[in-house]
Symmetry: C2
Subunit: 338 residues, 2 copies
Amino acid sequence: MLGTMLYGPGDVRSQDVPEPKILLPTDAIIRLSATCICGSDLWPFRGLNDVSAPMAMGHEYCGIVVEVGSAVTSVKPGQFVVGSFCLSDNTCPHCKFGFQSSCEQREFMTGAQAAFARVPLADGTLIATAEIPPDDLIPSLLAASDVLGTGWYAADAARVQPGSTVVVVGDGAVGLMGVLAAKQMGAGRIIAMSRHKSRQDLALEYGATDIISERGDAGVARIRELTRNIGADAVLECVGTQESMKQAINVARPGSMIGYVGVPHGVELDGQALFFSQTGMMGGPAPVRRFLPHLMDLILKREINPGKVFDLSLPLADAAEGYRAMDERRAIKTLLLT
Amino acid sequence: MLGTMLYGPGDVRSQDVPEPKILLPTDAIIRLSATCICGSDLWPFRGLNDVSAPMAMGHEYCGIVVEVGSAVTSVKPGQFVVGSFCLSDNTCPHCKFGFQSSCEQREFMTGAQAAFARVPLADGTLIATAEIPPDDLIPSLLAASDVLGTGWYAADAARVQPGSTVVVVGDGAVGLMGVLAAKQMGAGRIIAMSRHKSRQDLALEYGATDIISERGDAGVARIRELTRNIGADAVLECVGTQESMKQAINVARPGSMIGYVGVPHGVELDGQALFFSQTGMMGGPAPVRRFLPHLMDLILKREINPGKVFDLSLPLADAAEGYRAMDERRAIKTLLLT
């Protein structure tokens, strides 16, 4: 079957790979309805994460179950399922607390930029829909697997409340999903930091009330001005660089929370500066499984349309072009048609 | 009058200083019923904070109002008052959000290790009791000014809930107050890290259910064992060193919060490690003013006895010995009799 392998910085190849097989009784095999490229896939693509061996890319997925292991009881062949990029048993103490992304058995999904994929811990990870959803909802359901769930977690971790003034740092797909999440949670004002017209437009469509195109100190100054020098009640940090984290801290009011979901790369926090800023922090890989039933419900009822974040669709065989388009910011997020 | 000045590391002197005067219409002058030495006073005493000029020491206070500025309306001469070590107007947006320690007009109290003290922003800072309290409650009311309020904030920031498993890192006065606060908030299990018999005893009296005398990796291993390798629901970091912060992070379960109130000295946090630990952080100088009415009420009803944290009482003239006793850990906290 066709799969996507990363061999090194800038070197993504669509190639023939072995079809996945059930390896453990808790596995399921799914036929992907669609798959996609994640902003976090760009870290190794850009050489910012080490790639020691060829990597089977792809961790966002939804599709039809084709086979399950002998221990799987909650899903069966023929059902349409969505799962989180973090695989979890959903029974351990961390899962029970709603932090399935720190499950005692946690694994990260791989190899989903392909026609078929193996999903370990299927019972704790996958959620089936009552019926096969219409095709036009596939992009949104796929988004729920990671970017939507991650943006939602950022808003949840930042404790967005009805009426909150929210700042979203980062206009990638996750940041845009953070705007959508903040809107759903009733935020009164949503300030999106974005310099790109297409992303600004989508942020506005998802509920942003203000767009700040300035960055760095100028961006901070604009937000301080907009918030009468108080700062934001909640900040969603959706990038993961030292600069973006600094911006987040500098626009957060004392007593607020920063929900940070961009995997930090080279981020160092000075304890004393953080202490006196009096901003709270909560982050980590998103426990998408916690939010997935609610998010799937919102999508199936057509109350949200996260699938609009895909502004480029390519055949799976053209995955490399999808990576380049995102790397060069020609695309927000690339859907790969299986 | 007698006051306490720090001239440099290890050099504290009780000496004659000018009596404080009303400088602004929002000031009050109080005659201290008692005063005390704070663990944070040891940072400059130990040379870990710079002391560029002689410092008037003391930021914890309670006593009788003797004079008020022309703008002061909420307290009057003759009343007994307690105030926070952080002076606040209690009207700015940060104060309204309950973070008076980040008040737009914030000042830090100084010069309270003396017979009289000037309290700026009196209306926003001081709370008067209905009657002059009995003498035996003075130590507890004095503790409310900082250490009790700070330990309480640590528990609040760590979001201690009924039934929570709580770890308290640090067995100084603030850590012991953190134990008391966690108990009041209904924690189910309170694990205090302490190696000193007198502090262990007081921790147990205040509600600790487990005492861990091991430190570092051994301490972390013991707590992981006690919590069936899950970690704590809430961690109170009451020291402020790299080592204590590392311990806090390593015993916190994913999704928990660390309330950190020890002023960080040399603490650096690795963003990626914090991200994958999935522990939340909230800290800063305690907004004692938020908690003060409730804490004073608990003390006046004799429901809590934070004053027991004072295990050494000395005349104000012997302040230097009080510093040495705390520095050498011969005393938990020194009360100075005015």
